[in-house]
Amino acid sequence: MSVTTAAGAKVYQAPGEAGSPVDVKARYENFIGGHWVAPVHGEYMKDLSPANARQFTEVPRSTREDIELALDAAHAAKDAWGETSLTERARILNRIADVIEEHTEMLAVAETWDNGKPVRETLAADIPLAADHFRYFAGETRALTGTSTEIDKDTVAYHFHEPLGVVGQIIPFNFPLLMAAWKLAPALAGGNCTVIKPASSTPWSILKLAELIGDVVPPGVLNIVTGPGGEIGKALATSRRIAKIAFTGETVTGRLIMQYAAENIIPSTTELGGKSPNVFFADVMDRDDAFLDKAVEGLVLYAFNKGEVCTCPSRALIQESVYDRFMERCLDRIGRIRQGNPLDVSTQMGPQNSRQQLDKIMSYVDIGLAEGAELLIGGKQPELDGELADGYFFEPTVLKGHNKMRVFQEEIFGPVLAVTTFRDEAEAIEIANDTLYGLGAGVWTRNGNLAYRMGRAIKAGRVWTNCYHQYPAGAAFGGYKMSGVGRELYRETLTEHYSQTKSLLVSYSDQALGLF
């Protein structure tokens, strides 16, 4: 399954190569109604690995007709799935989790090859978290209860959670399998059938997942259609045959999603990114201990998943009295990040997801420098050997500047940290909140009261306190301000975003109202 290099590092063979844990077909089809279905118009699009910029398979370039086929299958399945007992739905979600876990290595390598993220991350985070997400919603489903309210002695309101029916879901390229799990688990838990569209640049790993769970989930409950967002994403989002639309991506498409939902009078949930501040108070330097080491790593986490994370801690705010000493340690750690073959378990940073992402990142570094930012480290592509030389790699980069610069105000979606200083708590809050977005934030201090005040003052849906980039199921995730609408990862995702509330108001009295 893997080879061990002279240096002792484990390296997986690329999908399709002899000895790889993943096999690759020359072509994949849409997964509709439990079957592999060729696109109506017979067109396909290339899927490239960002590690070497080479095509390794192709997937359907679907059209509106394929979305209709998927909706047909979902509607055919929705009544039976909606009436499936909570016990059985929970059993199926747990079975999905088991299958993911049993195939961790295969799915991790597939995900790494499609996305570019290092396999040490997919093995340790993406795949285990995806499995756990299904388990969490299996638990919530099995334990789901309605309520009853005694309105008066003879009148009772019973509240039931009922499925929405068929939902549409559109997911991004940065965590293809984990984002699929975030969307699918609560939808299926709620008794809904789904039509899901993966990102155009990472359509493959979810199809590998469907190969594994195709016979675990009843036909038509899960339908996967690949293709361009402007064609099939729009066809799905504008369809009057969906009861809800969920989307993760950029703001203009998010706005279209909400507009289409308004036209059809259905609910939508959107997660549209951020520009998350990571705030370090002077007391982190009070002692040279494990906590300081953790705080340094906390800053360097901007390079996690090569910065392609909605909550990337891409603005570091450091109290000025310790800036030089703290940054020195951080830059030392950043300078030792290992870039290279993402299938090598010792690699810490893989390539960016696509050529366009790489181009964008380079252009932002140029803008930052033109705005007067100071380049502290990185700022260019690394020199790598062999076929990796064609990969979309970029060095972890730090720019020092001020919060009005565009590199502080926009989500670069790359390993580019914008760092600035603050004097005191009030200025830290002011800078942290001086952004259009409010998805994530980090606060680092040894002072619990300060940490609490900061956590409450920062206008963001998630404030990591003395930690960062943890995504456990059970902790709500979602945005303030332009970062979107709705919450994922916790119970209310199931009960508020993927269920209807039915109130059955029953009178047990024989007495008429007496009005007529």
């Binding site: 993760t248 991506g249 950029e250 279209l256 549209l272 252009s363 009005k404 565009r406 105000q409």
Partner: protein, 140 residues
């Protein structure tokens, strides 16, 4: 920097020949289109290309200018933090991830940026070019 009526005019948005050609081809095939500068996650820095009338344009949208007759908009909250830069619409490799129309031949619209010089910024303020242009529908 373009010249109109002898007075130098500074454009908030321009486009490369490749972008203009792609917009012209799109207009032939699909009718009038617009570009809207996106923000946020994933493809957040790209201009989203849409058929005119698809996205509802409201009072919070700033018209940056026209490129090849195609209006280019930005959210006024985003404009507030981008206005010291000129946007240059270009095409780059790749398929759009969102609902943007592609630029053709496996390419998509991209935004490049240039920081205005202090003189240009002063001139933009003098000519009032930094205020909103939302009144009146642009012709395409």
């Amino acid at each position: 920097m373009a010249s109109t009526g002898g007075r130098p005019r500074i454009d908030r948005v321009t486009a490369t020949p490749a972008a203009l050609a792609a917009l012209a081809r799109l207009r032939e095939r699909r009718g009038a289109v617009l570009l809207y500068q996106s923000g946020g996650c994933c493809d957040g820095s790209l201009p989203v290309c849409l058929e005119q009338g698809d996205l509802r344009i409201g009072d919070g949208d700033v018209l940056l200018g026209l490129v090849g007759g195609c209006p280019v908009y930005i959210d006024n909250r985003q404009y507030a933090v981008w206005k010291h830069t000129q946007l240059i619409i270009d095409v780059g490799e790749g398929e759009p991830e969102g609902f943007s129309l592609p630029a053709g031949d496996g390419r998509q619209f991209v935004t490049r940026s240039r920081v205005f010089s202090p003189a240009e910024l002063a001139s933009l303020q003098e000519t009032g070019a930094s205020c909103r242009f939302t009144e009146g529908e642009p012709s395409s």
